[in-house]
């Protein structure tokens, strides 16, 4: 899976995710990637999210929109909400993987509960950061 989330200078958020899948998947199997609210979600008032991991679990736990719901209803920060979903909801239910997220202020969160996630960030100051493990 690959994906991106962004907050632009006008404060707008967006998310995009493409072509996840398990090796030798069943023909016609669709994971969380194209399901809005599971692997991809964006709402200017809360956050934009793109996920990567065990798709069926991301779908069952509505992973991406759950982060936005926690921010909206429980007043959690992006980091708190994203960490809870990845490290608690997904991790405790066989949902290995991770996600990238950005909130309305441009704060970024990239939690993962597996060995690594190919990931990178850049902000307005031009600071590029790429990591694997």
């Amino acid at each position: 899976t690959v994906g991106a989330v962004a907050r632009d200078a006008a404060g707008h958020l967006a998310a995009a995710t493409s072509t996840g899948g398990m090796t030798a998947k069943s023909p016609g199997r669709v994971g969380d990637t194209p399901l809005i609210g599971a692997g991809t979600f964006a709402d200017n008032a809360t956050c934009a999210v793109s996920g990567t991991g065990h798709g069926e679990v991301f779908i069952r736990w509505c992973a991406a929109s759950e982060i936005a719901a926690r921010m909206r209803h429980a007043g959690q920060s992006l980091a708190q909400a994203a960490d809870h979903v990845v490290m608690h909801d997904l991790a405790l239910n066989d949902g290995s993987g991770g996600l990238i997220a950005v909130d309305a202020d441009g704060n970024l969160s990239l939690p993962f509960n597996c060995e690594g996630m190919y990931r990178g960030t850049v902000t307005q100051d031009g600071r590029f950061d790429t990591r694997i493990h």
Binding site: T1, V2, G3, A4, A6, R7, H12, L13, A14, A15, A16, T17, S18, T19, G20, G21, M22, T23, A24, K25, S26, P27, V30, T33, P34, L35, I36, G39, T40, F41, A42, D43, N44, T52, G53, H54, S96, G97, G98, L99, I100, D105, G106, N107, L110, F112, C114, E115, G116, M117, Y118, R119, G120, T121, V122, T123, Q124, F128, T130, I132
Partner: protein, 174 residues
């Protein structure tokens, strides 16, 4: 406060340090950097978040290194299928495609669904028609083939034939 910001991912799972040579690791970092630069260029030019994530994901899709790119994960029948989704947080407009094959950049097919139709998700021939109507480039199977993904398919099928448990996150994630 940060004025604009961007994050990308190229997948997650079991990333074995032992098989990740310094040269290959450098290639991954460079590929991630190219995706960041594609999105950053949009945002630095006062572009929108939706255009930035489109550009960044296109750059990732173009990379054979990542499993969702030119080496899209194979089905058990040895065929490739593509899924993609995009969402605009300003309007909650969204577009998605599932189970298709052909567009060079599936994310642009999802974007076409969002921009050109009243629907959120399209599958099958009509999803491809929307992509064609949007003028998107298509590729054949050779373009999307990578040896690494083919070898992973054969390995997984062999394990299944032997009745071995297949719970490796790297396989489960594609």
């Amino acid at each position: 406060m940060t004025k604009f910001s961007l994050a990308v991912h190229g997948g997650a799972g079991t990333i074995r340090k032992s098989s990740l040579t310094p040269a290959l690791e450098a290639e991954y970092h460079a590929a991630l950097r190219r995706a960041l630069e594609a999105g950053h260029d949009v945002l630095a030019g006062h572009g929108t978040a939706i255009d930035a994530v489109t550009a960044a994901v296109c750059a990732l899709e173009d990379e054979p290194l990542f499993n969702a790119g030119r080496g899209a994960v194979f089905t058990s029948e040895g065929k490739q299928e593509m899924d993609a989704a995009i969402m605009d947080g300003t309007t909650r407009a969204a577009g998605a495609v599932g189970g298709i094959f052909g567009p060079r950049n599936p994310i642009r097919a999802a974007r076409a669904v969002m921009d050109a139709t009243d629907h959120v998700m399209l599958i099958g021939p009509n999803a491809l028609n929307v992509a064609r109507d949007a003028g998107l480039p298509f590729e054949d199977t050779d373009y999307f083939f990578t040896q690494a993904r083919w070898d992973a398919l054969q390995s997984t099928l062999a394990m299944r034939a032997e009745g071995k448990e297949d719970d490796d996150p790297a396989r489960r994630h594609g």
